[in-house]
Amino acid sequence: MTHGLITSVAGPVIKARRDGPITLGEAVRVGHDALLGEVVRLSSTEMTAQVYEDTTGLAPGDMLTGTGAPLSVRLGPHLLGHIFDGLLRPLRHDLAPVSYDVEHMVNPGDRVSAGQKLARVSGPAKDQFILVPAGVAQAEVASIESGSYARDDSVAILRLPDGSEREIALTHTWPVRQPRPVRHRLPADTAMVTGQRILDSLFPVARGGRAAIPGGFGTGKTVLQETLAKWCDADVIVYVGCGERGNEMAEVLHEFPALEDPRTGRPLMERTVIVANTSNMPVAAREASIYTGATVGEYFRDQGFNVALMADSTSRWAEALREVSGRLGELPSESGYPAYLSSRMSEFYERAGRVETLGGGEGSLTIIGAVSPPAGDFSEPVTSHTKRFVRSFWGLDRGRAQARFYPAIHPLQSYSEDAAGLTGWWTAHGNPKWPEQRGRVLDLLEAQAELERMARIVGKDAMPPGQQLTLLCADLVDDAFLRQSAFSEMDRTCSPEKQTAMLSVLMQFFDRATAAVARGADVQAIAELPVYRRVSRMGEEIADGDLDAFVALTAEIDAAIGGLKLEGQDEL
């Protein structure tokens, strides 16, 4: 073990003289309380480490010890359903130890290879798996037994080609900064269903995709992340609270156990892992928490699950990088951020993907990062770099948020590069017309922005009926389709079937109204039809699964618009 003598202490950064070899990135234990730290810089006799815990009381002359391993976290079946700090240490210490039912999937004498499933760990929620470690290319099972095991027990023994033996336990450690290997990547052609209409129908994210939610304070990043964590169709959710509020973590902890996963009927908490480094917790651990989250995500991906990782907020992570970099005396680049900001960000987002696992199965890790730009200005470094690395960009708009129009995603500032690859998915899920309908909605919203600029000059009354109708239809898209309250029992999530039905109601309305106006109908009269109000509230009033109601609504549109008196008709 290499030791070091601390020579200086400033905030979370310490310097020490060392008496032996130590490596960059190695985890170290610092001072009397063995605080966890990591070597970030080395010279011939000196080393610099960042410390992940409160350094109050540390002094020159205190000792430091190398651990011989890179900064790592413990992965295992104990993660699901619980909350951990930025280095995956439990934040609750009062939980009774549990035992896990393990059932072997291979037999002694079997030949196995990296990533292969050795045993199933069954729980109330979902089965998890113990895999052959990534580093073990080939091995023979020396022993394996089903039974009930405690968290740190060993479950099997593998005999390696060189004759040595390796114990396989329920849990294992993995270096957080090192991506877990896969066989190869698969194309992003499957949608991750979020249950949010503006996302699934307009700006979708594929399984294994990368998305960002930039927005000023209070525009709805956290609520959106929580909503996705609740209702998206992933098997496992990793929720990383990075430098944000303690009460938000409390909210997840209180709410999720009481909510039911509509797909499995189990409490949502059972599919969730929370990594919490709130804004008042040590800043260096904030930097690590993002990698911790990605490592946990990959761990479940490797078992063949579809995982969604929410990181709220990646800006706090970037700021933690900046703070530590400043204390190291590094030369700042844009806005004081270190020059390596962009490469760190790309490394992080690169850990997303849909893959063929080492064991030959399929799994995915989707990363959704919130971005908190200073003053809500999207041109700042973190937002602009993020834009280069994500494929779905969901820009939140202050004006919408202030009008309590939620989710406040601005349709003209958002985009999805995954959309093009998902036509097949929508066709397979009952909506072959999706690309066309999506295009029509986007065109309408584009036209709305243009016409509203014009109305500010000439006044709405002076516009021709065709343009007034465009504005009316765009208002309807906003109100009926894009608005979706996260707090509405009925509307907080919306299945692809319901989205399809709603889109087709809207298309019917546009077509009928356009035809009627062409025949001379008054736009204001259309706006005043009771059916207009019914359509604008359909998300709130018609339950998921009640497709008949949408058919009825379509008929009502036909009857109401068809029955409009046309101008000059009285005289006929």
Binding site: M249, P374, R456, R533
Partner: protein
């Protein structure tokens, strides 16, 4: 443990608030020191950096008058602490917890670190009890919840002091007896007048005996401003989590706090971030604001209403911006409304209460309260857009509906937002519906048919009867 180092010859330099000493004792990062000058004054400070030869101390008082040769530095061997015990309420302290009302110090039952109070997020309780403040724009549209941190974003010359004092006197839970809050008031670099005005207001309403005040006045050392909110919050935590009270903490003016932070950071020679404020200002402010909340298994609650003045009325300035990223919403005061004579001049659109959804509705206020709030926001947002439009094309260039919105916007400000006296929740709730009754049903897309029938239709009938009769 506390030991003394005679510093003659040990202090090597004084630069701004920083004192550089030779490292002749073993002391740890963050530990407290007291620096005694020849004039006998004692200045608190803390260790901010150490290496093999040197200790850097940051003094939290004026360093003027300190000499290099004649100071005595006492090392406390522990971080900064505060002695706490019964009898905090009704007292006035200075910015670092020493009595300034001539009374004796409170009995020291416990000593607490002033700079921790990190609540383990896994042990937080969920804030969800609605607090009635008597202000319509808060109670109906941006509700305050027990355990929340909800700042007032104000600006020079706006009546934030009056609003905060009003809330401190009125705030109570609904349905329960008249039991109000214990109030901790931290004056950070404020004028004597502001402090006195608050004290008089509390005295008049008889609430002074439930109030503890911590004052760092404008004339007092700015470095101490970094400590004032921490001492006040340590006392508030004691009142809440040891004595089991519901505590409302008013921190004013956080802008002065941030200025002091910038000053100290500059003297450290740190690379500044936006507008010269240090890059860690977000984390630093979080250590203050995150001290609001509830703790599982502990009886009391700690609610914060910090006040800040936005430099140049600019909400995107780093002080309000970073604050907004930490707190659970904000109440924004607006100069234009103030000019119209509206009190309190709350601009409801940029205002927000993030915990509102947990504390209103069925079982808390009224089942239709959330819908009422949503509809008022949506309609008023439209009204402000129409107002802009009409300033260009004129009232005559508007459509009929838009003219209704224009009237709605003005009436909303005059009748709903504006009220001199504190208004009970029920009255605010009723006026909210009256506002919406000005608009045709088609415009009320946030309300269900039932809600319209329940709250709007009866108003239309009486209005109809009145004109019929």
């Amino acid at each position: 443990m506390s030991f003394e180092l005679r510093a003659t010859g040990s202090v090597t330099a004084i630069e701004g608030p920083l004192l550089f000493l030779k490292r002749v004792v073993k002391a740890g990062l963050g530990e407290a020191v007291e620096v005694e000058a020849a004039d006998g004054g004692v200045r608190p400070g803390r260790i901010v950096a150490l290496d093999e030869d040197r200790i850097v101390v940051e003094l939290l008082e004026n360093t003027a008058g300190l000499g290099i040769d004649d100071v005595v530095v006492r090392f406390r061997g522990e971080p900064m602490t505060m002695a706490l015990g019964p009898g905090l309420l009704g007292r006035v302290f200075d910015g670092v917890g020493r009595p300034r009302d001539g009374g004796a110090p409170v009995p020291a039952m416990v000593r607490k670190r002033v700079d921790t109070g990190t609540i383990n997020p896994a042990l937080r309780g969920l804030p969800q009890d609605f607090i009635e403040t008597g202000v319509s724009s808060i109670d109906i549209l941006n509700s305050l919840v027990r355990g929340q941190k909800l700042p007032i974003f104000s600006a020079g010359g706006l009546p934030h002091d009056r609003l905060a004092a009003g809330i401190a006197q009125t705030a109570r839970l609904r349905g329960e007896g008249a039991e109000g809050f214990a109030v901790v008031f931290a004056g950070i670099g404020i004028s004597y007048d502001s402090a006195e005005a608050f004290r008089t207001a509390m005295e008049k309403s008889g609430a002074l005996e439930h109030t503890a005040m911590f004052l760092n006045l404008a004339s007092e050392p700015s470095a101490q401003r970094l400590l004032t909110p921490r001492y006040a919050l340590t006392a508030a935590e004691y009142l809440a989590f040891e004595e089991g009270r519901h505590v409302l903490v008013i921190l004013t003016d956080m802008t002065n706090y941030c200025e002091a932070l910038r000053e100290v950071s500059a003297s450290h020679g740190e690379i500044p971030s936006r507008k010269g404020y240090p890059g860690y200002m977000y984390s630093d402010l979080a250590t203050i604001f995150e001290r609001a909340g509830l703790v599982e298994g502990k009886p009391g609650t700690l609610t914060q209403v910090p006040i800040l003045t936005m430099p140049a009325d600019d909400i995107s300035h780093p002080i309000p911006d970073l604050t907004g990223y930490i707190t659970e919403g904000q109440i924004v005061l607006d100069r234009a409304l103030e000019h119209k004579g509206i009190y309190p001049p709350v601009n409801v659109l940029p205002s927000l209460s993030r915990l509102m959804d947990q504390g209103i509705g069925e079982g808390y206020t009224h089942p239709d309260h959330p819908a009422l709030a949503q509809q008022l926001f949506s309609s008023y947002a439209r009204a402000t857009r129409v107002r802009v439009l009409s300033s260009v094309v004129g009232r005559d260039g508007l459509t009929d509906v838009d003219r209704l919105y224009l009237d709605f916007g003005n009436t909303f400000e005059d009748r709903f937002v504006h009220h001199e006296e504190m208004r009970p929740f029920e009255a605010s709730f009723a006026i909210g519906w009256e506002m919406l009754a000005m608009l045709p049903e088609r415009e009320l897309s946030r309300l269900s048919d039932k809600q319209i029938a329940r709250h709007i239709a009866p108003l239309r009938e009486t209005a109809g009867e009145a004109t019929d009769g």
